[in-house]
C-alpha cells in the first residue's frame, strides 16, 4: 500500500466495489437524520416498497425547526410541527432511535453525534446536512449529502461517489490569547476562499491543531464545507480517544481496547502525498470578523472593511460591492466601529460546552450594551445545557442580560422563530453569513464565542486578544 494519507485509509476501508471510471460504492457506518432533509427520503423508500438496510446505523433528532423557548407548548407553526411530527412518525414506524424534543439528549445533530459516541474514528458518517464535516474531527470520513442520497443510504447502506483529491492544511505554532478554533477556520477560508477546497477532502494537521480540544477540532472541521470541501478530518490521538471513553454509543471492555488499537492507525503516514498543501502560522492569526455575505469575506478585528475599488478581479469587485450594499457598510470602516443589534451564541460550529465557557468568561459580571436588543445563548444540546447549568454559566449569562434558551439550530438558519429583522446586524458564532440566512434582510458577522460575547458587552466589535 505504501504511504497513505488518513483520507486514503478511510476511503480504502470503505470501498465495496468500484466502476471502471472510478465511481465507487462506499459503505456507510453511521447515518444521522434530521427533520428537514429526510421526509422526502422516507416517502421515496415507502413508495418503492423498500426498508432501511440497517436501522441500527441510524440516529435521528429534530433540530432545525424546534423552538428554543416554551417547549412544553409544542411547536406553534403548523408547518414546522408537521415536519417534526413526520420525523417522529417515520422513526417510530421503522424503529429508528430518535431523541425527541422532550429528551435531554436532543440537540443539534452534529453536537449530539460526538457527544453520544455515535461518531467514532474510522467510520463513514453521513447526514443530509452540509456540516456533517464536523464529525471528521474524530478521524472519520464524514460528509453532507442531499435527500436523494439520504434515501440511497437508507435503502442500500452505501453511497456512489468518486474519491476527492487530498489537501493538507497545516497550522503550526502557538495561538495568541483568545484566538480560537473559529478564528483558525475563518483564517483558512480567508486564505483559500469559499471554493478553495472544492473537490478536496481536507486534513487539518500541525501542532496548533493537535493542541486543540475535541470541541475546537470539531469547530475547524465544521467549517470545511465553508471552504468548499465536503469533508474535513483530523488524525486520531489521545485527545480523541479520551473524549470518547465511556460515551453511550462507544464500545466498552475488550471491544474498546480492540477499537483503540485500530484507531491509533488513523493518521497520515510520514511522507504521504497530498495534492495540495496550505500552511498557516498560528502566531499570525488574529480574531476574525466577516464583513460580507460569504465566509471568505473576512478580516482581522483590527482591520477595516475592504474597499472594492482596490480589487482587480471584476467578479470579486462586484461581489464585494453588492455585499457592502447588503450589509449596509462603507469601505474602509474600522471593524471595531461596527455597531451591532443582536448577538447569537450557538450553532453546530460553536455551541459546545467549551464555547459557552469561553463566552461566559467574557460576560461574567458585565452587562450587554444598551444598543444590543437581544443577545441569546442557545446550547448545542440538552446535555450541554445541563452541564452549563451545573457550572452556573446560565446565571452568568442571564445576569449579563443574555437570554438562555433551549437547544437547537435556532438563529443559525432561522427556520424557527429566532430570526433577524430586515437591516438588523448580528454578531453570530454560526457558520454562514449569506444574504437572508439569519432572517430576510438580516446582516450577519461571523465571529468566535469570545468575540460575540465581547461585542454584546461593548455594543460593537472589540479585539478580545488585547
Amino acid at each position: 500500500m505504501g504511504t497513505q494519507t488518513l483520507y486514503d485509509k478511510l476511503w480504502n476501508a470503505h470501498v465495496v466495489r468500484q466502476e471502471a471510471d472510478g465511481t465507487a460504492l462506499i459503505y456507510i457506518d453511521r447515518h444521522l437524520v434530521h427533520e428537514v432533509t429526510s421526509p422526502q427520503a422516507f416517502e421515496g423508500l415507502r413508495l418503492a416498497g423498500r426498508k432501511p438496510w440497517r436501522i441500527a446505523s441510524m440516529l435521528a433528532v429534530a433540530d432545525h425547526n424546534v423552538p428554543t423557548t416554551g417547549r412544553a407548548q409544542g411547536i406553534a407553526d403548523p408547518i414546522s410541527r408537521l415536519q417534526v411530527d413526520t420525523l417522529d412518525q417515520n422513526c417510530e414506524e421503522l424503529g429508528i432511535t430518535e431523541f425527541k424534543m422532550s429528551d435531554v439528549r436532543q440537540g443539534i445533530v452534529h453536537v449530539i453525534g460526538p457527544e453520544q459516541g455515535a461518531t467514532l474514528p474510522g467510520m463513514t458518517v453521513v447526514c443530509g446536512d452540509s456540516h456533517t464535516s464536523t464529525h471528521g474531527a474524530f478521524a472519520a470520513l464524514a460528509f453532507g449529502i442531499g435527500t436523494s442520497e439520504v434515501e440511497h443510504v437508507m435503502a442500500t447502506q452505501c453511497l456512489l461517489m468518486k474519491k476527492a483529491k487530498a489537501m493538507r492544511v497545516v497550522v503550526d505554532g502557538a495561538l495568541h490569547k483568545s484566538v480560537t478554533a473559529k478564528d483558525i477556520a475563518l483564517a483558512v477560508i480567508g486564505k483559500i476562499g469559499t471554493a478553495g477546497g472544492t473537490g478536496f477532502a481536507i486534513e487539518f494537521s500541525g501542532s496548533t491543531i493537535r493542541g486543540l480540544s475535541m470541541e475546537g477540532r470539531m469547530t475547524v472541521c465544521n467549517m470545511s464545507i465553508e471552504a468548499g470541501a465536503r469533508a474535513g478530518m483530523i488524525a486520531a490521538d489521545d485527545m480523541t480517544i479520551n473524549y470518547l471513553k465511556g460515551r453511550p454509543f462507544a464500545p466498552q471492555g475488550e471491544l474498546w481496547d480492540k477499537a483503540v488499537s485500530y484507531w491509533r492507525t488513523l493518521h497520515s503516514d510520514d511522507g504521504a502525498k497530498f495534492d495540495a498543501v496550505v500552511k498557516l502560522d498560528a502566531a499570525q492569526i488574529k480574531p476574525q470578523v466577516t464583513w460580507g455575505t460569504s465566509p471568505e469575506m473576512v478580516v482581522a478585528v483590527d482591520g477595516r472593511v475592504p474597499d472594492p475599488a482596490t480589487m482587480s478581479d471584476a467578479v470579486k469587485r462586484e461581489g464585494a460591492e453588492r455585499a457592502l450594499l447588503y450589509m449596509g457598510l462603507k469601505a474602509n470602516t474600522p471593524i471595531a466601529e461596527i455597531k451591532i443589534d443582536k448577538v447569537f451564541i450557538g450553532s453546530c460550529t460553536n455551541a459546545r460546552i467549551e464555547d459557552l465557557r469561553a463566552a461566559a468568561v467574557i460576560a461574567r459580571g458585565k452587562h450587554i450594551a444598551a444598543n444590543v436588543k437581544l443577545a441569546m445563548v442557545v446550547p448545542g444540546s440538552g446535555l450541554v445545557k445541563r452541564q452549563a447549568e451545573q457550572e452556573g454559566l446560565d446565571k452568568i449569562f442571564i445576569a449579563a442580560g443574555f437570554e438562555w434558551r433551549e437547544p437547537g439550530c435556532s438563529m443559525c438558519l432561522a427556520m424557527n422563530d429566532d430570526k433577524l429583522l430586515p437591516g438588523e446586524r448580528c454578531a453570530s458564532t454560526s457558520n454562514r453569513n449569506f444574504e437572508g440566512r439569519q432572517g430576510s434582510g438580516g446582516r450577519t458577522h461571523l465571529v468566535s464565542p469570545e468575540m460575540a460575547a465581547a461585542a454584546a458587552i461593548a455594543g460593537h466589535f472589540v479585539d478580545v486578544s488585547k
Binding site: V16, R17, E19, A20, D21, T23, L25, Y27, V36, T37, P39, Q40, E43, A48, R50, R54, H64, N65, D77, Q83, T86, L120, G122, G128, D129, S130, G144, I145, G146, S148, E149, E151, H152, A155, T156, Q157, C158, L160, M161, A164, T194, A195, T198, G228, A229, R230, P251, L255, A259, Y262, S294, G319, L413, M415, R432, F434, E435, G436, R437, S440
Partner: protein, 212 residues
C-alpha cells in the same frame, strides 16, 4: 428520473459568483415534506419585492422587475448561466428541486459546489463546467442577443451556440449513463446486494464495535 438527451433551450444569465443554496431556495420553504412545488419560490428573495412565506399565493405577489428571471426576454428559459462556486452552502436538495420545478434542465457555470453538483444529477438536471473565458463569452453573447439559445447534446458532450461555436464539456461516464437513460441510482446499487452483504459481513467480523 427525467432523461436528458438533447436540449435546445433559452439561456438566462445570473451574473453573480457564489450563488448559495439559501439564495436558490430560502429556508422558510424547506418546511415542506414534499419534493415538488418549489419552482414559484426559486430565488424568492431576489425575485419578489415582498417577503415570501410558504403557503402564499405567489401570483398575487410583487415581482422584482430588476431580477433577471422576471424580464420578459428570459421567460421560458431552460438553461441557467452562472459564475463560479454555484450552489455553495447548505446541502438542501430543495435547490435542484426548485430549479427543476421552475423549468431548468441545465446549468452552465465556471464551477459548482460539490454537494449541489451531485444533487443535480439525481434530479435530471445537468450541471456543466466551462472555463471562465468561455462563460464570459456566453454572458456577452446572451446580453447581445434576445432569444439566445444553446443546444446541449449530452451524448456528444457538446454545447452548440447559434453562431456555430461548439463548446466541449466533461461529464463522468457513470453519471452520463444514468442521466441519458433516466436511471435511478438505488435500483442500480441494489444490483450489487450480494457484494454489499459480503463487505458488511467482513466488516462486522473485523470491527464489531461498529455494529453495536
Amino acid at each position: 428520473m427525467q432523461k436528458f438527451t438533447v436540449l435546445d433551450g433559452l439561456v438566462v444569465p445570473l451574473d453573480r459568483a457564489n450563488v448559495d443554496t439559501d439564495a436558490i431556495i430560502p429556508k422558510q420553504f424547506l418546511k415542506s415534506i414534499k419534493r415538488a412545488g418549489f419552482g414559484p419560490n426559486l430565488f424568492d428573495e431576489w425575485r419578489y419585492l415582498d417577503h415570501g412565506e410558504s403557503g402564499m399565493d405567489n401570483s398575487k405577489r410583487k415581482p422584482n422587475p430588476d431580477f433577471v428571471l422576471n424580464q420578459p426576454r428570459y421567460q421560458g428559459a431552460q438553461i441557467l448561466l452562472a459564475r463560479e462556486n454555484f450552489g455553495c452552502g447548505s446541502s438542501r436538495e430543495h435547490a435542484p428541486w426548485a430549479l427543476e420545478d421552475y423549468g431548468f434542465r441545465a446549468i452552465i457555470a465556471t464551477s459548482f459546489a460539490d454537494i449541489f453538483f451531485n444533487n443535480c444529477f439525481k434530479n435530471g438536471l445537468l450541471p456543466i463546467r466551462l472555463s471562465a473565458e468561455q462563460v464570459d463569452a456566453l454572458f456577452k453573447a446572451v446580453a447581445a442577443n434576445v432569444g439566445y439559445k444553446l443546444t446541449i447534446d449530452l451524448e456528444r458532450q457538446t454545447i452548440t451556440a447559434p453562431d456555430g461555436t461548439v463548446y466541449k464539456f466533461e461529464v463522468e461516464i457513470f453519471r452520463k449513463h444514468c442521466l441519458l437513460n433516466g436511471l435511478d441510482d438505488i435500483s442500480l446499487t441494489l444490483q450489487h446486494v450480494a457484494e454489499i452483504k459480503a463487505y458488511e459481513a467482513k466488516r462486522r467480523a473485523a470491527q464489531p464495535w461498529l455494529f453495536l
